[in-house]
Subunit: 222 residues, 2 copies
């Protein structure tokens, strides 16, 4: 079921918007991305997500859904004809939800009020646990979701581009083959998977966005 | 499907443990509650939830699931014979997940590092939005979930007892019929619903627990 009554309010460099885009690609759902500046909130954004006032927002016909992981689950529930995004087994689903929530806790919430070294430490620690999670969830297959890209691949995959940017900016080495070999190879597979490779966030483009924002913020405070 | 191979690691006054207990009651699943002191973490707790080291933990045969809302969804997925906990419609499910996450953000995460007045303000604000959410979700029926107790009823219902305790301790009035009439009547219905009334957290018992902890903490610092 491909429809064109699907709109995503988002900004392409946002890892959370990227999750929604990946899920729509997997389900072959046509959509329109309405670029929405997260710093200058549009009327449509404020009306669509009055509680959090954040992207992404998915508008499907007359329905509005917010919060990236909730949107991804909605997409899986609403377009049942495409490949499944969440695992079908109740326990596997629970584990996927657990690690997805963990990713947001470690990689999103960490960024706001902590010292740089503490943040880097949290990311390292998180990736080591996620390496183990990958081994358990993938059961020897290519992705967290098995043979194809699933919920956890989306939840973590959207962060890979920004992790690489953080490596460049901080000098840290996150995607280290000696420490997390499975995750490093998993990330490479994501960037070459026919289903999502054209929506994976590219490091050089994110770096450009970052530099642009830095320049704007320097100019504003000058 | 009622089994006795279900164990909950928890402490009965915990609202998050209460969610799991409510969901098991709704599904008529027999379980054993292993009282687990959250301040003196048992070996079993550390082994079962090495990432967060927190209750509740659900152990179902050889499977271990953590995080209350994830456990409730697991219970709904694993025991399909009982009444549904999450709505069946994809959009209604998304909305239920959205507000459940909101409840945790407003009522749990608020408690950790903020001034008392800021916390009370957040709770007021949250309840006003949840009053609106109730009107939209219940569609004129008794519960968020419609005719019977569902996911959002569980997510918020577990907090009612502690809200009443906070009212007594702070002098604030949260469950105010002039401001949130639908939620006040909804809470009364929960406390008399045949399915969950015997597991709803009672104010006087929670107050006793609170006073005991206060006394212990005073003694420890004396």
């Amino acid at each position: 079921m491909a429809t064109s009554d699907v709109t995503v309010l988002g900004a392409w460099p946002s890892p959370y918007v990227n999750r929604v885009v990946m899920a729509l690609k997997i389900k072959s759902v046509e959509y329109e991305l309405v670029e929405t500046n997260p710093h200058r909130k549009s009327e449509l954004l404020l009306k669509s997500n009055p509680v959090h006032k954040k992207v992404p927002v998915l508008i499907h016909a007359d329905k509005t859904i917010c919060e990236s992981l909730i949107i991804v689950q909605y997409i899986d529930d609403a377009w049942t004809n495409g490949p499944s995004i969440l695992p079908s087994d109740p326990y596997d689903r629970a584990i996927a939800r657990f690690w997805a929530a963990y990713i947001d806790e470690k990689l999103r919430d960490a960024k706001e009020d902590e010292a740089k070294t503490a943040i880097l430490e949290k990311i390292y620690e998180g990736l080591l646990l996620l390496e183990e999670a990958f081994i358990n969830c993938s059961k020897g297959k290519a992705f967290f979701g098995g043979d194809s890209v699933g919920y956890l691949d989306i939840a973590l995959g959207c962060q890979v581009g920004w992790l690489k940017v953080t490596e460049i900016l901080s000098g840290a080495k996150f995607l280290d083959e000696t420490k997390i070999p499975c995750l490093v190879r998993w990330a490479e597979r994501l960037y070459s998977d026919s289903c999502v490779k054209d929506v994976m966030l590219e490091t050089h483009m994110l770096l450009e966005v970052f530099n642009k924002f830095q320049a704007m913020s320097t100019a504003a405070s000058a």
